[in-house]
């Protein structure tokens, strides 16, 4: 065992276990906060600005990606005061189309890579996948960890893959695409594993940690996100480096999104209440946020006829 390996094992082994009952009760308790009127309007606008508008289907077409990118720039064309989303999230071959559509709007293109969603491919294929996406102009790379290796206890392999992917994110000008690391928490079985995976990824250089691919149920849940928020909080306290969090999958309503924002505020504080540090990976969530926004603006309930079909 090398020194680095030993130190990784020591850190992960030294993490305290998660109190499952306490965690779930805490998450449920935070979910009962009532956010109304102006606070709700603010929270909805913030949530819209945090959405990574996502399409990750085999049936994605250039037309669909263009439509999605346009929607991300102007989610509600009838209301110029509506903020834009944070990014669009697509497969690597769609990055260029998304990038061209977004132009100089300032919105990011996030691309999944590393044999998403299963991550079952050889390392050089995963790295080539990543380099392709970065070359095509991706600002952010969403990689998946090797859950098989993680569950068999081969943390070094997972660690090394993240380090290698981070290197593959480098651009010729010396900058690098932001790296988001997806755990697929629905496959990690326990909250202890989520905590371990969080620390492991952050130590390996992740800029963001992300719950799920959206292809496995359960996807993002409040307790899982809470564990990850605690991890980024503790990691910053220890190392001084701030890491972002992105719950993805299964967040469909404004009410859900606001629960997450309450939790961010309570667990890690306002530093993370910013699209640079907290994102929602979602597709249908944006429409519900817009419907709620229209309800607040007009005073009556809106309907799906007034948002896009996607």
């Amino acid at each position: 065992m090398t020194g680095a390996t030993a130190s990784l094992r020591k850190t992960l082994g030294g993490l305290p276990g998660v109190d499952q009952v306490g965690l779930e009760a805490r998450a449920a308790g935070l979910g009962t906060r009532s956010i109304k009127t102006t606070a709700k309007a603010w929270a909805i606008d913030l949530a819209i600005s945090m959405v990574d508008l996502t399409t990750l289907e085999g049936a994605d077409t250039p037309g669909k990606v263009r439509a999605l990118a346009n929607k991300a720039m102007r989610p509600d064309p009838t209301d110029p005061s509506c903020p834009s989303a944070a990014a669009v999230c697509v497969y690597p071959d769609m990055v260029k189309i998304a990038k061209d559509t977004l132009g100089d709007s300032g919105l990011h293109v996030a691309s999944v890579a590393t044999a998403f969603p299963s991550g079952r491919a050889a390392l050089d294929i995963k790295l080539a996948d990543t380099r392709d996406a970065v070359e095509a102009g991706a600002d952010e790379i969403d990689m998946v960890i090797d859950r098989g290796a993680f569950l068999t206890g081969n943390y070094e392999l997972v660690f090394d893959e993240i380090v290698a992917t981070k290197e593959a994110c480098a651009r010729p000008d010396g900058s690098h695409a932001h790296l988001k690391v997806i755990f697929e928490t629905g496959e990690l079985q326990t909250y202890d594993n989520v905590r371990k995976a969080s620390w492991l990824s952050m130590m390996a250089g992740a800029d963001f940690i992300k719950t799920s691919t959206g292809k496995v149920q359960p996807a993002a849940t409040l307790p899982v996100t809470l564990v990850m928020l605690e991890a980024v909080r503790d990691f910053r306290a220890e190392t001084g480096r701030q890491v972002g969090v992105k719950p993805a999958g299964g967040i469909k309503t404004s009410k859900d999104a606001i629960k997450y924002l309450v939790m961010v505020n309570e667990i890690v504080g306002e530093d993370w209440l910013d699209p640079d540090w907290f994102r929602f990976g979602a597709s249908s969530l944006l429409n519900d946020l817009l419907l709620q926004r229209q309800k607040i603006a007009t005073g009556h309930y809106s309907g799906p006829d007034y948002v896009t079909l996607d």
């Binding site: 005073g299 009556h300 309930y301 809106s302 309907g303 799906p304 006829d305 007034y306």
Partner: protein, 287 residues
């Protein structure tokens, strides 16, 4: 040995489930002499919103069933109501203070009304639709299609009035959100139990108990409601304000009655006709 009362919680009927009001509020239903009948869920605007969501979700499946099948399902509702005939009679007697004969008349009329409308399910299109003679080489056809989600303020007649507004709306393929009679809500809850145990898909009918004056304005202004039936609104000012709110997205409005309605009278096709949209197709033909 004396047996403890099995007291009933009367709940809302939304999307095929029986939730309490989201607000947690209740009100008391009283019998004809002012005595306590039961605690009812007092629906809020959010319950109304949830009901519209459920109705919208159910619309696609319900409206595309064959008319014949919709007729069978509505007839099945009558079958289940027949099985609860005694319960309905008892509840009408308690709520309205009717004698046994009169209560029986109303309950039988209500069940028969459901059967009557069920029969129309696969026939109204032939009557309301038409092949139109046009001056040109076209085959021109008009056919009635469901309007969509219908919000209904039910008349105060506890059972007959209620089924007389629900049945014509659903046989044509609409889905409905009904605000039951505020004064006599108990039979509406029993009717919802009949619906849950018949073949009616969840969400096709959603029944709210509570105050029409509180909930109806939210339904009238709701942009995802396509029609408004004011059968049970007897306050002209409320009716006018609801019509104004409904104008925003051009809802079809069945206006509030100006004189008391005799629900026992033989119905016409007016209510069926009121909640459909006529689609006309021009098809070129060789001359």
């Amino acid at each position: 040995m004396t047996r403890l009362d099995v007291r009933k919680t009367h709940k809302l009927y939304i999307g095929g489930a029986f939730p309490r009001s989201e607000s947690g509020r209740t009100f008391e239903a009283l019998d004809a002499k002012g005595g306590f009948l039961g605690n009812m869920a007092l629906a809020s605007r959010k319950d109304a919103r949830d009901a519209v969501l459920a109705a919208r979700k159910a619309f696609g499946g319900w409206s595309t069933r064959t008319p014949y099948n919709r007729g069978q399902v509505v007839y099945r509702l009558a079958e289940v109501m027949e099985g609860r005939r005694d319960q309905f009679i008892e509840q009408l007697r308690a709520a309205e203070g009717l004698n046994d004969k009169k209560a029986t008349t109303y309950v039988d009329a209500a069940i028969d009304r459901v059967v009557w409308y069920a029969g129309w399910a696969d026939k109204y299109v032939q009557v309301l639709g038409n092949g139109n003679p046009v001056s040109g080489p076209f085959f021109n056809l008009s056919t009635p299609e469901p309007t969509g989600v219908v919000a209904t303020v039910a008349p105060s007649g506890p059972l007959l009035g209620l089924v007389s507004v629900i049945a014509p709306a659903i046989v044509t393929g609409n889905t409905v959100v009904v605000i039951a009679s505020e004064k006599y809500p108990v039979p509406a809850v029993t009717l919802s139990e009949c619906m849950a145990t018949s073949d009616l898909p969840g969400g096709v009918v959603n029944i709210l108990t509570g105050k029409a004056a509180e909930i109806a304005p939210w339904l009238a202004s709701h942009m995802d409601v396509n029609a408004l039936d004011l059968a049970g609104v007897d306050d002209p000012e409320l009716a006018a304000s609801l019509e104004v709110a409904a104008a925003d997205n051009l809802k079809r409005v069945l206006r509030a009655p100006t004189a008391p309605v005799d629900w026992l009278a033989e119905p016409t096709l007016a209510r069926l006709e009121g909640l459909v949209e006529t689609k006309t197709v021009w098809h070129p033909i060789g001359v």
